[in-house]
């Protein structure tokens, strides 16, 4: 495979595509509301109407407005239908026949809604546009050209430098500078090195990575290959959770196709660069999202984290230097290579560059996937894009999953960036954004997350194993109205201790949901206390 052959595939694909395409979202969200059936019926109707020469029905990845699935888009004259049902199919095809797509009886979504207009797709640029199961469509939008460019026109050091200058930070939650991570692994002595894509998206309420994998799997492969070239690795693993069967299937397909075209394997693009990727399927353990636990799991063991240092960059998988990045981080790489570090660094804020994908869910009108520039105010997301809560008032937004916290409504003008969120006592996390209204009890939410951490603790270190149980019991006691102020103090003390002494990120952040709700919604805790301290005038300290 050389560049000409790649461009030829792209050209052929552009010519092959029919003049009108009906795109059906078949990612997991829409699939569970019957997208496959809609797609089949559309195909049949198009055939019956004799339109199959000019109209093509294709299956694409996530179209973002997950709460209104199944979604169907017709690119001419540009209509996105929501909640399409089987009996609307004929009307859609009829209208298309008469070139009046808007009057088909199916409900179109307003494309000018802020939900769409405030988005700035980089990671999701191909999502919902191309068929994730056909490598040709990815190539037709410029795919794998970045890998070619990197291999032939850049030295590994230049690639690392480009990523460093872009200012990209890890999208898995911690926000560690990606370039620095790459540089550390690249500087390790030559020899066996590994690249791992962490696709063990375990935060409840987060499905960004799943959508990327289901909608644009080749992007991840290309991103990983570029990383491998930069750090001198020849073997990669994608660790994906078993709960995402469609993502696994599409990744498998993508890897097979890339191998077939020589974009994976030995001597890629007629260069000395070899690279292959294996998929490892998780088996239901949240803690495996922690990088040292993830590596234990790839090695076939229990997902127990180990103390760091040594960091994976120094001694990782089978004691070899290992680069671990999250799905979304890798998905940014091809765009950074294509458009350049300066372009990427011009998006976002000073310390948080680029965009972030969020899964907007909970008590909100418009649920779905959004990709927004860093620095956007929470209020823009919740009120404009999300359209506010369906009933009552919005109370808080939870970010960062079981490691994060709740941001109260009065702080919604805070810009969304790594450091500002940490200052609020929460974190960016992988991108779950759950909106809560005034009906939601914050103590209840804290208990929910503590139950989660208690169940997901691997049990290796004492503070996390036994501390989460104790904190859960204290929260239960408070919720039952059996606790006193002494219990509340005890709870805070144990929170601090577990945070400071736990071995891995799971334990170190497990108290965060409690601490953040205590910080902003302390009165909800106090109201539940047996000795009603509110009446005794100690409502706040």
């Amino acid at each position: 495979m050389d560049l000409n052959e790649l461009l030829e595939i792209a050209e052929k694909e552009r010519q092959r595509a029919a003049s009108v395409r009906i795109r059906c979202c078949t990612a997991a969200g829409c699939a569970s509301s019957g997208a496959e059936e809609i797609k089949d019926r559309l195909e049949q109707s198009i055939k019956d109407a004799g339109l199959d020469n000019t109209v093509e029905v294709c299956s694409v990845g996530c179209m973002k407005f997950c709460g209104r699935g199944p979604l169907v888009e017709i690119d001419i004259p540009g209509v996105l239908y929501q909640q399409v049902s089987g009996d609307q199919v004929e009307a859609i095809v009829d209208a298309l026949k008469q070139n009046k797509a808007a009057e088909s009886g199916a409900t179109p979504l307003d494309r000018e809604h802020p939900f769409f207009t405030l988005q700035q797709p980089i990671v999701l640029e191909n999502s919902g546009k191309i068929n994730p199961e056909r490598i040709e469509e990815y190539i037709a939008v410029g795919g794998y050209q970045n890998l070619y460019h990197v291999i032939h026109d850049m030295s590994p050091d230049e690639v690392v430098d480009e990523v460093t200058r872009s200012g990209l930070r890890g999208r898995g939650g911690g926000g560690y500078p990606t370039g620095l991570k790459w540089a550390t692994v690249a500087k390790m002595p030559e020899g066996q090195k590994y690249v791992i894509c962490n696709a063990d998206e375990g935060d409840p309420g987060a499905f960004m990575d799943r959508s990327v994998l289901e909608s644009d799997p080749h992007r991840i492969i290309e991103g990983m290959a570029i990383a491998a070239y930069a750090i001198g690795a020849n073997h990669g693993y994608i660790y994906v959770r078993a709960e995402y069967p469609l993502a696994i299937k599409r990744l498998e397909t993508a890897i097979k196709q890339a191998k077939r075209l020589g974009l994976m394997g030995s001597q890629i693009f007629d260069s000395p660069f070899d690279f292959k990727i294996d998929i490892r399927v998780g088996a239901g353990a949240f803690v495996c999202g922690e990088e040292t636990a993830l590596m234990q799991s790839i090695e076939g063991g229990r997902g127990n984290p180990r103390p760091r240092p040594p960091y994976p960059a120094q001694s990782g998988l089978w004691h070899s230097p290992t680069l671990i990045n999250n799905v979304e981080t890798f998905a940014n790489i091809p765009a950074i290579v294509r458009e350049g570090a300066d372009w990427f660094a011009s998006i976002g804020t000073e310390k948080s560059k680029g965009t972030k994908v969020f899964a907007l869910t909970g008590k909100i009108r418009n649920t779905g996937l959004i990709e927004v520039p860093m620095g956007i105010a929470l209020r823009e997301i919740v009120e404009k894009m999300g359209g506010g809560v369906p009933r009552g008032e919005v109370k808080a937004v939870q970010t960062g999953g079981p490691s994060g916290g709740c941001i109260p409504a009065h702080l919604f003008d805070t810009p969304v960036e790594y450091d500002s969120l940490i200052q609020l006592g929460t974190m960016m996390g992988s991108g779950g954004m759950i909106v809560m209204d005034t009906e939601t009890s914050m103590v209840d939410v804290a208990q929910f997350y503590m139950e989660f951490c208690r169940g997901e603790s691997c049990g290796k270190c004492i503070p996390c194993r036994a501390g989460t149980v104790q904190m859960y019991q204290m929260l239960t006691k408070i919720l039952r109205g059996e606790a006193t102020l002494i219990d509340l103090e005890q709870l805070e003390r144990v929170c601090g201790m577990v945070k400071a002494t736990s071995l891995c990120g799971l334990g170190q952040t497990a108290p965060n949901p409690v601490l953040s709700t205590l910080r902003y919604f302390r009165e909800e805790y106090l109201e539940l206390l047996k000795d009603s301290p509110k009446a005794q005038g100690v409502a706040s300290r």
Binding site: A28, G29, A31, S32, S33, C66, G67, G69, E201, G202, D203, P204, G205, A206, F207, R210, A242, E243, Y244, P245, R280, V281, G282, A283, G284, A285, F286, S297, I298, E299, G300, G301, R302, G303, A359, T361, G362, K363, T367, G368, L369, Q398, G401, G432, I434, M436, T440, V445, F448, Y449, F452, G455, E456, C458
Partner: protein, 183 residues
């Protein structure tokens, strides 16, 4: 992951017979053909010890759950200590050491589902079926399980019925979807 275990018994022999001649003396003494299917997976992984989790995934798919005999066989074939195999099998949620029911209903308890009332779905199931999450009915017809998050948050609350994800569930729709499962 709920998998269609019921049909695997029928499928196993045909797939197993292909490798039959090669399995040789290492074959499982019971003559149960399903072990031969497992052998293929282990061979494909060159009996590498780090393939333990893949092998257990396959074993669970073939046998429906990881009975002691299967764990013993896997340990012997991969030359791993029994306690290590047991430790790994019990660490991961998706591995089950007990048989599950003919039908499974998984209620998602992710945050989005939780905020939107997933606990009422569970309550309805408990009242109707009379078992706790993680349990199977006495007649082996149905298991109720919970999931940490199935990633269908846009459709919260969601539940999975025999592998099929359904969104926007209510207590009524849950009972509707499991109709006939208990007989």
């Amino acid at each position: 992951m709920p998998s269609a275990q019921v049909n695997n018994r029928d499928r196993a022999p045909s797939a197993g017979s292909k490798a039959g001649s090669k399995a040789g003396s290492n074959a499982h003494p019971s003559g149960d053909k399903r072990f031969k299917v497992l052998d293929i997976t282990m061979k494909r992984n060159q009996h590498r010890q780090d393939a333990l989790i893949e092998v257990l995934h396959k074993a669970q798919e073939i046998f429906g759950y990881l009975e002691e005999d299967v764990l013993l066989y896997v340990a012997r074939q991969l030359k791993l200590p029994l306690s290590k195999v047991y430790g790994v099998a019990t660490f991961y949620h998706l591995f089950s050491l007990k048989p599950s029911g003919a039908h499974t209903c998984v209620v998602c308890l992710g945050t989005a589902c939780y905020v939107k009332g997933a606990s009422s779905l569970l309550e309805a199931l408990k009242n109707q079926v009379g078992i706790e999450p993680g349990e199977t009915t006495d007649n082996g017809q149905m298991s109720v399980m919970t999931a940490r998050c199935i990633g269908a948050c846009g459709l919260a609350p969601a539940a999975v019925y025999d592998g099929k994800v359904m969104g926007n569930q209510t207590a009524e729709s849950v009972l509707d979807n499991i109709k006939g499962w208990l007989d």
